[in-house]
Amino acid sequence: MNAREEVLARIAAAHRIAPPPELRYEDISREYQTTSDSETAQLTELLIDRLVDYRALVRQCSADDLAAEIADALADRRAHTVVVPSGLDSLWTADFSGSVLTDGLLAHYQRTVSELDSLGGVITGCAVAIAQTGTLILDGSPGQGRRVLTLIPDYHLCVVFPDQIVADVPQALARLEPTRPLTMISGPSATSDIELNRVEGVHGPRTLEVIIVRG
């Protein structure tokens, strides 16, 4: 028997020695919350509260002011060169006076890792934001980029639109395509490994800034 056959045979043996209880998938109890009647404005407030609680910087602006707000954030950060994923709306960086590099999904158009390590930051959108947990989810779609793009630069600026904000984890997962490469981000890189206290800033971006576009 090869390893696969043997492991499966062991499971079958275990089930015969100790027959498992009958519980169909459809009968699994799911009495937890999967819907929310909160309105967008409430969800936005909750998201901001949770983002700030985990030490993310938060800005708010109207859709018309987005380019100015991004330029302002980058100026505060003193970033001269930033990278954006292909597919990001070029109007977002229209007011920024520094240089904007684009990273493509095809290997040929990708920036090297050491180049990303030397840049002033990265700007992306997101697929979904979870209000209850202060979580941003990126799925690699245009405007969000491959996973390393939001990992190597030390500053990540993420733009969230009102229709991307959901109440909780169940509603967020329902919106996602699981086979895409997914990254869930809740605050800047942190660790609880020293005396079990949360400390920001290990390997990922040490600064996470979020711009929430008002509806």
Partner: protein
Amino acid sequence: MNTSVMLGLPAMPPPAPDGVGNLRGVEKFPAAARRALADTQLRRNLGKATTTIRAKRAQVVAELPDWEQLREAGRQLKVHTMAHLPDYLAQLEAAVVARGGVVHWARDANEANAIVIDLVRDKAVDEVVKVKSMATQEIGLNEALEAAGIAAWETDLAELIVQLGHDKPSHILVPAIHRNRAEIREIFLREMGDVDPALSDEPAALAGAARQHLRRKFLSAKVAISGANFGIAETGTLAVVESEGNGRMCLTLPDTLITIMGLEKLVPRWQDLEVFLQLLPRSSTGERMNPYTSMWTGVTPGDGPQEFHLILLDNGRTAVLADAEGRDALNCIRCSACLNVCPVYERTGGHAYGSVYPGPIGAILSPQLTGIEDNASLPYASSLCGACYDVCPTKINIPEILVHLRAKHTETYADEHRVPSAEASAMAAAGWVMSNPKRWALALRTGRLGRILGRKRGVIGEVPLPLAKQWTDARDFTRPPQQTFRDWWAAEHGGER
């Protein structure tokens, strides 16, 4: 003919093999615990850390009105999955292969280690970066790689502290929980080589030193090794839950990714993650959500490793599955909430348990993975207070399984020894005495003889007699009263009942 053959029962699946991995301690729990208790620095570090995390967990759990409903869903999902493992494993395998991954099966630690070594050698590299993984600690992968001439770089901060300190992990989530900031600073200064001697012991400065130390390793690594928190059968998606970003580095930068996953990490469908991604972070780090969670399915062109291997590991798990009263130990999602609330763990720390799985969950998981006789003292490393059961996100009834394993150990001992144990003899004698009212009344009066002891303190300390010593060397006894309850009752009420 042996009865199991007559009944047509198949052979018991084998436990995790001895001589490899880190499931068996070198000494019994009471001896190891005594030494740990004498270390006042250790007790201070543990007391501080577990108090912090208990408060954080309680706060974020209280935020969710549906916490109990989530726990029940988590429990039922695990029970259902364990009953349908073959189907879900096959489904996971097919989904991973369909998306360009390669799936390997490993009967035990030796087989898993050999598969990894072959894969790494095939890439002609002599070092790998690693994401913190209980499964790889369990099978002793780092030791096996080192023996094969391959350097394994632990990238999780706590794992790095353990590795640089030539130490052993003592907690599931925070392997260096037994070290405080001053000790960590000393280890970094001594071992890192490239650290500024002016490094302070502020946690943020220590985290910064780790960032600098590992950065070049990450950017040049060709092969990474990870565990998995969840594997979704329906889609073939794997999930790693972390904080620092070292996981993201390992999962996205190298060309080749090797993931080792215990069979029990399966989750039937994508939707089911909505339960576990709420239960796990709140139970483990006491956060609403951990900073980073990565999910990937096979290989994605242009994003992350272009070669992906998944190793499905048994190593004694099927032996656990064959025990109806103990198998729920497989439902563990490795949050470590039970360690943080355990009065025994809080005082002894993780090293005393000998296995990489310490605390209450370790006391029921390790003896089942290895076979009870190889970790026989662990089911007794508990006061059965039940705090672990209350916090477990998948509602594993740890106290009940501890009692079951104690009984199993007693039975195994009786089967293997002609002379009964001192405890069994005492129980038999007690049974004889208690079965007759006259004998029982006489025994109670005899108990007053205990008043000879403990006259000074009012309690009875260590009694230097066989059996009595084992019980009293860690416990004080109240001095028996002058009159037994029966005598008092007879004096107060005459002969009435």
